[in-house]
């Protein structure tokens, strides 16, 4: 068996230029594949992150049917809020949780002397929301709300523009309160202006301190949503599933369930990437097949010799598969080396997309950072390597079969 290994390895270096070229081609293909995965996953994770921080959180708890129907009256009362908090406390040792955010939601109208605009009024707890949603980075004027804030609001950039409002100026909020059809109204003062990166938010967002919103909307102690932010989005579904079991009377959703359009977008985008991957695979496949077939075809006499010396067809078959394996291993090493180095660079420095596009980058309402940071999971690396190996070995089968068969060329005479 060793001799087969030895011959296979040395055969690889018989035409060093061809072997090196093949290995380099496969390596580059694999490296590109890894980078595509890294950038693709990185971009998607950034989108999810942005959407999750500004929107639903990784997991949300709300009243049954609130997701589908909304409604100012679908409130979590004190007892329900407590049960939700208990569950979160029990779960925390298993899944590191960064923030628990209490929120109220209402649709309403904001008016200034310059006109009025339909808005989404969100009641928040200023301290935790400020850190969780990284509002300090997004504030383009004024200050964020604090614990002392009463009837003060933060506006999305678009709202401020439409109503021509600046920091310190006053406006009127109107909305339907809970438990009645009466319209409530409240005079508030602009404390700051935000650019969130979420298109819809920027056009409609009005942030109000939770207590002020509860009073304004007649909610009592009630809230509409408990949002959970975790350190990363990975276990969202798992956590949501646990919540559904533990809190059967409430609605517990993962970010994917809360934002199905984002999930769809990522799926479609991945589909596009897979087409790229197929092109790369074809490139690799063609190179491997070409090299192996050439080297088998030009070695007919050698297989004849090995055959008459007693090297069985199985061993000749194995010999070619071993050559393919060596090639895959070298390429895997090279491709992983190059790909991972590029990934590390792009993970730290990012890929500035504004090199390729100008203007805002947005998809499904999420405007995202024009710099994408590569994110490469062990699973992606492993499956890419496995694919290159499988592909090379599979493509080695036909040449190996030929090598096993071509031993029947008689070496005796017939020159």
């Amino acid at each position: 068996m060793w001799i087969v290994l030895k011959i296979a390895w040395r055969n690889l270096w018989r035409k060093p230029r061809r072997t090196v070229l093949t290995v380099v081609t496969i390596s580059l293909g694999l490296a590109l594949l890894l980078i595509f995965f890294g950038i693709g996953d990185g971009g998607h994770n950034q989108m999810i992150e942005a959407a999750v921080r500004m929107g639903s959180g990784h997991v949300v708890i709300q009243q049954k049917e609130y997701h589908a129907k909304g409604g100012i009256d679908r409130l979590l009362d004190i007892a329900q809020k407590q049960r939700a908090e208990e569950w979160i406390r029990d779960m925390e040792p298993l899944f590191p949780i960064q923030h628990i955010l209490m929120r109220t939601y209402a649709s309403g109208l904001a008016s200034s002397s310059d006109g009025s605009a339909g808005v989404q009024i969100i009641g928040i707890e200023p301290q935790s929301e400020r850190v969780a949603s990284r509002f300090d980075d997004k504030l383009i004027a004024g200050d964020f709300l604090d614990s002392m804030s009463g009837n003060e609001v933060i506006l999305g950039e678009g709202v401020a523009q439409r109503l021509d409002l600046g920091v310190g100026e006053k406006m009127v909020l109107m909305a339907q309160g809970a438990g009645s059809t009466e319209i409530q109204s409240q005079l508030v003062r602009v404390k700051g202006i935000l650019r969130t990166g979420l298109e819809e938010s920027d056009q409609t967002l009005v942030l109000l301190p939770l207590a002020a919103s509860q009073e304004f909307l007649n909610l009592g102690e009630g809230i509409h949503q408990v949002a959970i932010l975790m350190s990363h989005s990975g276990p969202s579904t798992q956590v949501a599933e646990m919540g559904k079991k533990r809190l059967p009377s409430l609605e517990v959703l993962s970010w994917g369930e809360a934002m199905p359009e984002l999930v769809d977008f990522i799926r479609i985008d991945n589909g596009g990437n897979y087409i790229m991957n197929i092109v790369l695979f074809l490139l690799i496949a063609f190179t491997v097949l070409n090299t192996l077939l050439m080297s088998v075809l030009e070695r007919g006499k050698e297989f004849g010799l090995l055959h008459s010396l007693g090297l069985t067809p199985i061993k000749r078959f194995l010999m070619i598969l071993l050559e393919a394996t060596f090639m895959a291993a070298l390429s895997g090493l090279g491709g992983f080396g190059i790909g991972y180095a590029l990934h590390l660079y792009l993970n730290i420095h990012g890929l500035p997309l504004d090199l390729f596009y100008s203007g805002e980058l947005s998809a499904v309402g999420v405007t995202f950072d024009p710099v994408i940071y590569s994110d490469l999971s062990a699973g992606r690396i492993f499956s890419s390597l496995a694919l290159v190996f499988l592909l090379t070995l599979t493509l080695g089968l036909a040449p190996a079969w030929r090598a096993a068969r071509s031993g029947n060329i008689h070496l005796l005479g017939r020159t």
């Binding site: 060793w2 001799i3 030895k6 011959i7 040395r10 055969n11 018989r14 006499k301 050698e302 010799l305 090995l306 055959h307 008459s308 010396l309 007693g310 090297l311 069985t312 008689h410 070496l411 005796l412 005479g413 017939r414 020159t415």
Partner: protein, 235 residues
């Protein structure tokens, strides 16, 4: 003669090739046998069936009619795999050209059959170094085929064939690519090994000078044994 060990036996062997409409009779009712230690040449003009005879004798090709034995192995009833195994155990080959695996050096080439047979490493090394010395290649063990002359390459092939101490060494025009000086010295080497190891040799040739060194000559004409005669000057 009858008391000696039988190495190869062909009985009424014919081999037909279909060539379009007509049938070529490459071997026509050949019967012959070789005993242990014989040194036999197959002579005959081009196309007379020398190569076909050698191929059929060791199961690289199958006869259309007739029976073949190597020692007590009946080749007709063996499958391809068993035949490969048999060649590995019982037969050494020396080809006209392209005898050596290009990526292995002289020593590794000579060692190849022992290795495939599973002979332990130490035994292998000793046997190979000794045989390379015997064929006059001491000092060239590490050279690859491309770094050896044609004659030296054939000597490596002889060393490989002999090292495994097969019952039968088969050679199809082993000297055809060599100048007559080198050819003769290769023949002398084969003869020496034949004497010292009592290995049976069967080789084909055109060359009268090579033929003369054989102890027995089988003349083929149109696939038939025309004459089968011992050379009185030898054993």
């Amino acid at each position: 003669m009858g008391s000696k060990e039988m190495i190869l036996r062909l009985q009424d062997v014919s081999r037909m090739y279909e060539q379009g409409q007509e049938t070529v009779r490459a071997l026509d009712n050949v019967t012959l046998s070789l005993e242990k230690g014989e040194f036999v040449a197959i002579a005959g003009p081009s196309g007379s069936g020398k190569t076909t005879l050698l191929n059929v004798a060791v199961g690289l090709d199958r006869p259309t009619q007739g029976k073949v034995w190597i020692r007590d192995h009946y080749l007709n009833s063996m499958n391809t795999h068993a035949l490969a195994r048999l060649r590995l155990e019982e037969v050494g080959f020396i080809f006209q050209s392209y005898n050596l695996v290009p990526v292995l050096n002289a020593e590794e080439n000579a060692e190849l059959i022992l290795l495939l047979r599973g002979v332990p490493r130490q035994k292998r090394k000793t046997a190979v170094l000794q045989i390379l010395e015997e064929v006059g290649l001491a000092g060239l063990e590490k050279r690859r085929p491309s770094e050896l002359s044609g004659g030296q390459q054939q000597r490596v092939a002889v060393a490989r064939a002999i090292a495994a101490e097969p019952a039968l060494v088969l050679a199809d025009e082993p000297t055809a690519n060599l100048d007559s000086e080198t050819a003769l010295s290769l023949l002398k080497l084969m003869e020496k090994l034949n004497q010292e190891h009592a290995t049976t040799f069967l080789f084909s040739t055109h060359d009268p000078r090579v033929m003369k060194r054989a102890h027995r000559i089988i003349h083929l004409v149109d696939g038939r044994v025309d004459r089968d005669e011992p050379q009185p000057s030898h054993g």
